[in-house]
């Protein structure tokens, strides 16, 4: 029922309770995603190879 009424954008639903539930679920997914991104980009295991890659690309551009 919730899926049918509120799938897609929130504007599609016309029952406030369903909309609130869906909105909460969606913002939770969003938060999870942002938390996941933050976990990755603050991981030294990511930062070290990432900055080495950036430095390598910069070196390539400078040498070209």
């Amino acid at each position: 029922m919730v899926d049918r009424l509120c799938s897609g954008m929130y504007g599609c639903c016309n029952v406030t309770a369903y909309c609130d539930e869906a909105e909460a679920a969606s913002s939770e997914v969003e938060m999870d995603f942002l938390r996941g991104v933050k976990t990755i980009v603050t991981d030294s295991h990511f930062l070290v190879p990432f900055f080495v890659l950036i430095a390598g690309i910069a070196l390539l551009v400078a040498l070209h």
């Binding site: 295991h45 070290v48 080495v52 430095a55 390598g56 070196l59 390539l60 400078a62 040498l63």
Partner: protein
Amino acid sequence: MWERCVGSTVTGQQKEGISLHGLGVICGLTAGVWLGAAEAPTKLVNAGFSPFAISLCMVAGVFTARWTFPTLLKGTSYVFADLFEKKHLIVWALLAGALWAVANTLTVFAIRDVGLAVAFPLWNTNSLIGLLWGRLLFRELEGASGKNIGKVVLGTVAIVAAAVMLGFSTLHGGTATGHNAVGGILAAAGASLMWGTMYVPYRKAYLSGMNPLSFVTAFTVGELSTVFALTLALDGGLHSPSFQLFHQRGMVFWLFLGGFMWVIGDLFQQFATKYVGIGRGIPLSNTNQLWGLAWGALVFGELAAADHRHKLLVVTGSVVMILGALAISTAVASSKEQTSTNEAVLRECERYGLDYNRTMMAMAGDEFNTRNEKRRWWDYAIIALATGVFLWLGLRAVVPPLAMDVRWIAALGAILLLSLVAGTWSLWRRTRFS
């Protein structure tokens, strides 16, 4: 809880048969045999193509082969289930592929500007960089005895020195044609740093219990797309001469074959990284220099005109490399060192919400029957398509008029097959390719 977790013994390590250390050593050495042999087919393509063209074509072959092996051994259902279970590692796989591609392109600039004689020793230090990151980021060798640390560090230094000696033995006269010495040295040092750093994502993935077959499937996407982007950006855009090479069907097969052999070597290298870490696994697979030289000298007669000094370099380099590999092979991790590894695994589990026990089981190659390995119709289609591409190119392949010793091709080919059987059998028996 922490002590209980990290101190616990992994079920898989208690299994009978070959130890995980032994398995890692076999994989590392097999990787060396195949990575070295991968150079042989590319020697048949020396018709003045740009390095970008050679690199792009070889990576296209790598891409084709990379999707075939995981599909053949585990099936796409398994691979994608593994990838999506640890989605965050896809970022690291793409990052590793990009690092490889940029490093490979930097070597082109290094050779152009300072020549192979200067560039080669510099980028061969990548295993030392790997050793450093292994220690700093993954606590490798932490808690190891002084004897084991000595064996690993000296073994790595010996293999780097031997690779340099073997590299020099094939150089005749000055090969530098460039004008920008500082740029060339920076490019070679950059390639070393990037290749050494590329092992960080490898180790990260395996400490999280990912199967190397899944990791390479995502890795190759990062690799091919970066090589493609670099060719477009640095080698003339859509009208790059690199794309012309694909019309030379007689030549393309040899590069695809080189890529195919490289994939087999790289897969064993990945398993070595998983089972003995980057500090031990990478130097062992860097013994590829010895096998590359064997193919060059024995099959293509590259040392036929070598003087006494060059021959001495070959013998000394080979002996030093074998001693280095022997030192690393015998440096079995103690239980104290193993505890540090377990702590590194626990860090991953806590940070990314992974199940510690399951991850430890997967780390030990013990995840039998936990995932669907059933093949779907598209698995067979992928294998058929890739085989078809190789057959189609193979039928059009042209053997250039190069002098080759057929007896040595047979002998080295037999060693290749033998190492493949030994490596595959060991992996299958101990881990079912997990």
